[in-house]
Symmetry: C2
Subunit: 336 residues, 2 copies
């Protein structure tokens, strides 16, 4: 086991193997307890007569506003989605805001309004909060940290441990849109682009699948994108995943920006998509269910869990195979 580097780098926050190492070898090592599972995004807690699910997230996206969203709506969606993919109904949120001296009040007001509208639309309440201000030059305008709690909405056991060879991998819609929208808003590429963030609550999508007995696992592909979700599955189960490039939904505008700039949409974040793993026999029915929803019209069965090849493989449109490596350096930091 190699030593951790002596200093933190941006790669420690990117969702890939460096972050995993950091979490395993510092956070999980010292903070370990039976309930803390650093492999999942939401935690199920025994509670008298009921179970609650809790999750938390930090948000440091730059810029604070971008086409299709802002750090405030992102914080609400991101937290709700972590609860939703765990099979929960989101109920309550806490909110910590770390403001930088010099932040424009009007900008903060827009963001808080956006947050409030997103919470209202999704039937959740921010029930406690805290604010800190740091000196100019010790932040980047605004950081948010949210914790969400919800009630478990299913008796269906969900988790990578239930995944079996032969299961199908579904995605609820085009990948990478959030990452590209933030990229275009941040960088000066001279591209105008029509890409909007896909940030949205995935609760309708997750609720639609909870009655399927063959449902094994759901996750929202945010930091690190779809490829990172597949790697997490591979690492937890030891099983391989084969994805078909031709079946992957990617918006044309996202595809062309990625082609021009050399990004791979498989590693870019969405903030309103779900990856689901489901038994092969129920995959078509689940797909139809998703496609009947406004958010799932472009849903697709994109791959298969395989016992044969214990890697994450992309079968390309041209008939070749490409090994999808685990993310090491960050293709696009600060997107959530």
């Amino acid at each position: 086991m190699t030593e951790l580097p002596t200093h933190i780098s941006l790669a420690h926050g990117n969702g890939g193997c460096r972050m995993r190492e950091l979490i395993d070898r510092l956070f999980a090592r010292y903070l370990q307890n039976p309930l803390l599972d650093t492999q999942v995004d939401a935690t199920r807690l025994a509670w008298p007569e009921d179970e609650l699910i809790i999750t938390n997230d930090g948000f440091t996206v730059q810029p604070l506003e971008y086409p299709g969203g802002d750090i405030g709506s992102l914080a609400i969606h991101g937290t709700l989605n972590d609860l939703a993919v765990a099979g929960a109904i989101p109920r309550y949120l806490s909110l910590t805001a770390i403001l930088e001296e010099g932040l424009e009040t009007a900008l903060l007001e827009r963001i808080i309004k956006s947050m409030a509208a997103t919470a209202l639309k999704n039937n959740v309440a921010v029930v406690c909060g805290d604010t800190k201000v740091v000196r100019r030059g010790e932040g980047s305008g605004l950081y948010l940290a949210t914790t969400g709690i919800g009630t478990l909405a299913t008796t269906q056991p969900l988790g990578t441990e239930y995944i079996q060879a032969g299961d199908r991998v579904l995605v609820s819609g085009p990948i990478g849109s959030h990452g590209v929208a933030v990229l275009l808003a941040r960088e000066q590429f001279g591209l105008s682009g029509n890409v909007r963030s896909d940030a949205d609550s995935v609760l309708p999508l997750t609720q639609a699948l909870l009655d399927y007995s063959g449902l094994r696992f759901m996750r929202d592909p945010t930091r690190g994108g779809l490829a990172t979700v597949c790697h997490d599955i591979h690492q937890s189960t030891g099983l391989g995943i084969r994805l078909q490039e031709a079946l992957l939904p990617v918006d044309a505008a996202v595809r062309s920006v990625c082609d021009m700039l050399g990004y791979d949409p498989l590693y870019l974040a969405g903030e309103g998509r779900v990856v689901a793993v489901i038994a092969a026999a129920q995959a078509s029915a689940a797909l139809e269910q998703w496609q009947s929803l406004a958010q799932g019209q472009q849903a697709a069965i994109i791959g298969t869990v395989s016992a044969d090849n214990q890697q994450v493989i992309l079968e390309t449109a041209l008939g070749g195979e490409r090994l999808l490596q685990q993310l090491v350096d960050d293709p696009l930091p600060r997107i959530c």
Copy 2:
């Protein structure tokens, strides 16, 4: 009503009236819902068959380590204490860490170990977490955000709304120690000092008073210190508070640093103290109960709630009276 300033300043994070304005006029205004009460530090939530209490906090203290503690133990203590003063038993915590690129790994390791030890000692578990990394120059090493949930441990209604004229004000121990410890660790005054932060769980102190029917209200005097707690009471109730300077417990070393540097310990943070308001008839018994605990040996009855003079007044040791103003500018930022 004056306009909010166009830009955020450090005073917006200091616990005083500027922060109050910011919270009332932006956060509370837009995020309002029946459960969100920006006047309290912990939120009680109806839950099937039980009630849980949730609180959250952000931590941006500089330096990250100081005599008597560090940002990690502070985050645990601060969160537990907000639950404890609400009459709860802390159970679970979520933790968001915002790391700055370039943070020394060994320092982070010390802080996480400290956090783990503090959680273990206080019988709480960090049950979910999230990590983000921001660019060098966009943080100050490490920011933490925690959310804590606990179970309500009393049927005694607590809150400023139960405070009556004639009630007594108690404090569990010397004030201002955390603020001065952080100040000395941060600034280059050439003072070595023997001041350690008082950061600790106040749960034994709060539990000791929960059986008193005359207990009205408890709070830990952190940002803004004891004077700010008194102002919060004054503003919520319309009642005055008269404090006796001669009765205020202040460590000699804290007093001498404050005298030299021109700080007032009444406005400096503690992180292991409780201010309690209790009916006059039960104040002596409550005081004895506190004094019987290791943490409460220097507890004192320091003042009285008064209907006559609707201000916060300090009766000085020399027989004069001093009006304790509400905090406007920050005497000592970044102490929690």
